[in-house]
């Protein structure tokens, strides 16, 4: 049974890759070019006024934030409309449901596809940033893994959410009340410690903040604000809870 699960998961991954091949050049812009533009404009532009932060240049300081939030946004982009679409418009999940592919395989295959997206995206970003002198530690090599963890921790709950809604208007709620606050208060552009406690709480529950802090610890070679295990545990909790939420959402939607 284990081997059929692997086979089915790979088959689902292949479907997403086949679909993605058509969109590659369109998405290359947002995956590879946009984060660099962000870095240049804010890192050098805003950085010129801000000067140093925590003893490093502003550019070096925001590199890990831009990296993790790019991964976060990719995860949300790929698990909102595409997931709802496969329930509602193309009915791709219903097509899979009629085959030996299980619900767990559908979700695992899609998350695997997100790994194929996030890892090259982060590696390319790292190489570009390296040329700008944005990295200060060899620990930078673990950042692709941290970004992958951010993707899993944010994609799974959003998949569960997308499986439960019938109208894409609900995504506006998700973007306005979850994604934007979590991005703004996740320590991407400024340290959350200088914020009021209420905003800090938003950061603490956001999977993105934990990812940003772990990436920052890695690229700057410093210790993160919480113990590493605590940040990792939060990401794991989001992933485990999200997996449960997504599995139930998919099962209910496909059972009818």
């Amino acid at each position: 049974m284990a081997s059929t699960a692997v086979m089915s998961t790979v088959a689902v991954l292949e479907r997403h890759l086949t679909l993605y091949r058509r969109l590659f050049w369109a998405s290359a812009l947002s995956s590879f070019v946009l984060p660099v533009l962000f870095l240049v404009s804010i890192g050098l532009g805003v950085g010129g006024y801000v000067g140093d932060l925590d003893g490093v240049s502003y550019l070096q300081w925001i590199v890990p934030g831009v990296m993790a939030s790019t991964a976060f946004q990719m995860a949300l982009g790929e698990t909102t409309f595409p997931v709802l679409g496969d329930f509602k418009w193309t009915r791709g999940y219903h097509a899979m449901r009629a085959t030996p592919v299980r619900i767990g395989d559908m979700i695992a295959g899609q998350v695997l596809f997100l790994m194929v997206r996030v890892l090259p995206q982060t590696v390319v970003f790292l190489l570009v940033v390296l040329l700008f002198g944005g990295l200060r530690s060899w620990w930078s090599v673990v950042t692709p893994l941290v970004c992958a963890a951010v993707v899993v921790a944010s994609a799974l709950p959003v998949m569960g959410y997308a499986a439960r809604i019938d109208n894409d208007g609900y995504f506006a709620l998700l973007f306005r009340f979850v994604m934007i606050p979590m991005t703004l208060f996740a320590g991407v552009f400024f340290p959350v410690a200088q914020m009021p406690v209420a905003a800090q709480v938003v950061a603490w529950v956001s999977p993105l903040w934990h990812g940003v802090e772990l990436c920052r610890a890695a690229t700057l070679g410093v210790a993160p604000p919480w113990p590493i295990w605590a940040h990792v545990l939060c990401l794991l909790a989001w992933s485990a809870g999200g997996a449960w939420f997504a599995m139930r959402g998919f099962a209910r939607r496909l059972a009818v």
Binding site: R15, A95, A98
Partner: protein
């Protein structure tokens, strides 16, 4: 020793909250048969199909598919079924060919095998020339043929077709029927739902008539017609709204007044027409035809199939 039926249901029930979609049906489908569920919309056909395709769990009763339990062995059963759903769920952004290869991979076929199978099946459903094209510009009939090809990709023992020709034009329907007949000739067991009596007559060796979640009759199309109808039917239309039904008493075996016409069930249609004229009635149109499953359904339920 007789082989266990491929599909065996006893007292099968499906409820959605308070609503009972399938209300205790008994069905047995043998290998190589073409079996139909005939009934109007809302009769419980699609709910039954979803239980058979191991997508929706029965609320009560016994169901065995290929000798296995659809809840426990869903993965193993689905691997041997071909499902052509009522709503197309093709991947609009993939090519015609990719739709088949992608789906084949869900069944664990190797990439090479998937490509070989896809080529073969596109020939079979006469879409080989559209192989590299997108799905979106295909006509309704072509999309349905592609869905059928996709359902065949794992060489299934049972093909489940939920209203395979609903919404298609007559030419597309005939082409589809012809392909399905070919499949049946190859020994594939076909199970289909339809609310078209001509489709049921064309394709089914045996069928059940469903109404309100229950089975109201079972048999071959011929048997059902001879049991519940007469060999011929005369359709009479009268110009004015005069009630002539009473004057037709005794013509044929039974008279059924419909809003727009009268149906006279008779062993000999021409004799019945002669009797109508002998009584001095002047219908504006007369049609003598052989009895169909539509007449059976009308007799059993008092309603027409397609409303």
């Amino acid at each position: 020793m007789a082989e266990e039926p491929l599909i065996y249901a006893r007292g099968l029930v499906k409820r959605f909250g308070e609503f009972t979609a399938v209300d205790g049906i008994d069905v047995a489908v043998e290998r190589g048969e073409a079996f139909g569920f005939l009934g109007p919309n809302g009769a419980g056909k699609s709910s039954t199909m979803r239980m058979i395709s191991c997508v929706s769990a029965p609320t009560a009763g016994e169901l065995r598919i290929l000798g296995m339990d659809p809840v426990r062995d869903g993965v193993a059963i689905r691997g041997r079924l071909g499902v052509c759903p009522q709503l197309d769920n093709l991947d609009a952004d993939l090519s015609v060919f990719e739709n088949l290869t992608t789906y084949a991979r869900y069944f664990g076929l190797s990439r090479a095998e998937a490509r070989r199978r896809a080529g073969e099946l596109l020939e079979f459903v006469q879409l080989a020339d559209r192989s590299a094209g997108k799905v979106e510009p295909l006509s309704g009939g072509m999309k349905r043929r592609l869905t059928i090809a996709r359902a065949m990709v794992n060489d299934p023992e049972i093909m489940l077709l939920d209203e395979p020709t609903t919404g298609l034009d007559p030419q597309a329907r005939h082409l589809l029927w012809e392909r399905l007949y070919q499949l049946k000739q190859r020994g594939v067991t076909l199970v289909l739902t339809t609310h078209y009596m001509d489709e049921a007559e064309q394709l089914c060796d045996r069928l059940v008539v469903m109404d309100g979640g229950r089975i109201v009759a079972e048999g071959s199309p011929r048997e059902l017609i001879s049991r519940y109808s007469t060999p011929e039917v005369v359709e009479l239309r009268f110009a004015d709204g005069v009630d002539v039904a009473a004057k037709l008493d005794g013509v044929g075996e039974r008279v059924d007044p419909l809003p727009d016409r009268l149906l006279v069930y008779a062993r000999d249609g021409d004799a019945a027409v002669a009797e109508v004229h002998r009584r001095g009635l002047a219908p504006s149109s007369v049609l003598v035809r052989r009895s169909t499953l539509e007449d059976v359904f009308l007799h059993l339920t008092g309603r027409t199939l397609v409303e």
